[in-house]
């Protein structure tokens, strides 16, 4: 008789606690809503002398570019917005730790800068990121607009389903970084055709110098070669089909000779022994260190490498980054490099200071901020801006030259596309390790494409 009463009591108490928790949460939610709207009003009425103290939390991926640029932005922003304190939070693991925070609405920053567009594409339509399409036409502190100054690649990449949830960050080219001293000492010049590259690699091998290395445990760095090769071998028509396929293209698209030629070119690096021994055990830091120590003449890498390795750069070390030379049977016989604009800054919808955050993104996109970014990190931003009068390293100059003087590629897939590897085979790793031949990879992709297409159609059409 008594026991049920006590358990009832216990349940009531637990419920009470739960409801109390919910209640306080609701209160907080209401408070934040009103905070946002009052701020919105403040911004609308154009009263920058809003005396309310605001702390703007900026979380960013602290990778190869470090945190110096964000410290600069903080300084600039606080100088022009006296009531704002910018709180920076940088982490090399930001891409991982931010996911539960944004998706679970806990400890959400006001501004995020991340690498990889997938999260933007996921959070945008689901309402986790603020739609900032209008911000592209808004005047920045220097009078320009993002719409007018962002690069073509950036404008294409930083949109999803007709809306914009992000502003571009960097536009870092991936290519082949070579050791200038090794080249000069041996009287070599950077080749302009792949056949010359093959000759050069064999010469290097004969001299006991490993021609190439790359961060072996992250096989994705090999896209430095693979992405340009797709366009070189397949031309624009192939790339259009790949990124925006129709049902009739499946699975023949994956039989396109561009794939076989590309993968065969990739395989040749390993088959011919041009990749430094032991490369596959190395992470980015270790492989870049080997390159800096002159153990390999070239490394597949990006424009952020110099900054990433600035503490270990040997005195007087000289390197340049160059695009991938075309083979003689290429459809497009041009040297090409990857130049993605895949990192971005945006505003989580849970931010309580959306308008201040918008101001921050605008300030981050001005010509002055772009120049500062390049000066501090040695990497280009995804904007058109002048680098006149800046003292830049030879490496940075070569990276910027690569963006302006050569054709660049960047693949932006439409929602129905099923990528360059529908079978899910990690083909970089499979070919690099010798586990699969190019033809095996292609057969797998051709075989898997129809199912993958059906699955994709089902997913994007289901409610």
């Amino acid at each position: 008789m008594k026991k049920p009463i006590f358990s009832l009591l216990a349940i009531v108490l637990i419920l009470g606690l739960v409801l109390a928790g919910c209640g306080s949460k609701n209160d907080a939610g209401a408070a934040s809503d009103s905070g946002t709207s009052s701020e919105a009003k403040g911004a609308d009425s154009g009263s920058p002398d809003d005396q309310k103290q605001v702390t703007l939390k900026v979380a960013f991926f602290q990778g190869g570019y470090g945190d110096v640029w964000f410290k600069y932005l903080k300084e600039q922003f606080e100088a022009s917005h006296k009531n704002v304190t910018v709180e920076l939070e940088g982490s090399p693991k930001m891409g991982e730790i931010i996911v539960p925070r944004i998706e679970g609405n806990t400890n959400v920053p006001d501004v995020v800068f991340l690498n990889g567009l997938d999260q933007m594409k996921k959070w945008g339509p689901s309402g986790k990121m603020v739609d900032i399409t209008d911000l592209y036409a808004a005047p920045m502190p220097d009078g320009n607009t993002i719409q007018d100054t962002a690069t073509e690649t950036a404008l294409q990449s930083q949109q999803w389903l007709g809306k914009r949830y992000s502003v571009p960050w960097s536009q870092s080219p991936l290519g082949i970084v070579y050791n200038v001293d090794i080249f000069e000492k041996n009287g070599w010049t950077y080749p302009t055709t792949w056949e010359e590259m093959e000759k050069l690699a064999n010469e290097m091998k004969a001299k006991g110098i490993a021609p190439f290395t790359y961060p072996g445990i992250y096989a994705g760095y090999l896209s430095a070669l693979v992405f340009p090769a797709y366009t070189q071998f397949g031309g624009d028509a192939f790339v259009n089909k790949l990124t925006n396929p129709q049902e009739s293209d499946i699975p023949d698209l994956y039989k396109d000779p561009a794939f076989l030629k590309t993968y065969t070119q990739l395989e040749s690096l390993f088959k011919n022994g041009w990749i430094m021994k032991g490369t596959q055990a190395l992470d980015h830091t270790a492989s870049q260190m080997e390159f800096l120590n002159g153990k390999a003449a070239m490394i597949f890498n990006g424009a952020w490498m110099e900054n990433e390795m600035k503490d270990s750069l040997p005195e007087g070390f000289r390197m340049r980054i160059m695009p991938i030379p075309p083979t003689s049977d290429a459809k497009v016989k041009e040297m090409m490099a990857v130049a993605d604009s895949r990192d971005w800054g945006g505003i989580p919808s849970a931010s309580k200071h959306i308008d201040v955050a918008k101001q921050f993104l605008l300030l981050a996109s001005t010509e002055a901020s772009n120049r500062k970014f390049t000066e501090l990190t040695g990497a280009p931003r995804a904007f058109k801006y002048s680098i006149d009068g800046m003292s830049l390293s030879d490496f940075t100059k070569s990276a910027i030259e690569m963006l302006s003087a050569y054709k660049t590629v960047s693949y932006i897939y439409e929602p129905q596309a099923i990528g360059d590897g529908p079978s899910g085979v990690d083909f970089y790793a499979a070919i690099a390790s010798g586990d699969m031949t190019p033809q095996q990879v292609i057969d797998k992709n051709v075989g898997a494409a129809p199912d993958k297409w059906k699955e994709q159609q089902k997913t994007i059409n289901s409610k």
């Binding site: 216990a10 339509p125 689901s126 032991g278 990690d426 790793a429 997913t459 289901s462």
Partner: protein, 308 residues
Amino acid sequence: MGGGGKSGFRNKSKVQRSIFIAVMLAWPLLYFAVFGIYLQVQTVLYSFQRWNYVSGTQVWVGLDNYRQAVKELIGGSYWRTGMTNALLFIPVNYALIALSILVAVILSRKFPFASFYRIVYFFPTILSVVVLTMVYQFSLHPTNGIVNGLLGFLGLEDWQRSWLGERQTAFPAVIVYCLWAGIGFYNVMFTGALQRIPGEYYEVGKLEGITFWKELFSVVLPTIWPTISTFIILGTSGAFLVYLQPLLLTNGGPNHSSTTAALEMFQAVLGAGNYGMAATFGILFAVIGSLVTYIVKRVVDRVDTADY
């Protein structure tokens, strides 16, 4: 009358007591409800859903995820390698337990520097796993590593290799790391268990004139069996959770040959944002793991324990 008043008073104090108990229990129950039940339910729900990035919502796909998961496990994808490697960690964990017991027994003997060695064995446990993996990576570095250096010094150049970069050696190297880094923790646990064995047991043994091995199998192991069986079960279920070591050492490579079930799930969520498939495999591996653990527990329970 008086009796009624007394029982009323007793009732009141009982009510107070119950309120106290209820309040004390509410928090852990709530915690369990959120982090125990809710998250599990969420995972089950996720396994029947997929992300539609056009509409920005989770959509129900029925058994599609499970169908694909089974197809991948049978068809020999990275998930299957992950599952095989996770299962391989079960005997690895047993070997670790056996090694730790041996070390603990040897170090429990009174010989010079015994406590020094105990500290040496425990050392890896107090260091961060990131530091440990770096040290290990450095020692196996293909060109500057001490392992290849020693092999070269001994004239065994043929044996030099890129330990973490070759299919044949990458996963074994991860296993060796787990043994090396794990022995300290288990060692402490077993040393504690050994110290609780009453000294008379050994004295009786000595009077009977038994050997080291006889003592180990007739005295030591039966007495510490409860500790051993606990770690056998933990080691079995823990095999499905291993991901940090391969992530840091090889990133699962080359070509996913040193991956584990948990690492593939980790990468499905954080690399590809594929919650649906990760949840599906999570459920499947939980089922497989529970089955294996249950069988092992049944076997372990059959072994008689010495009471003391």
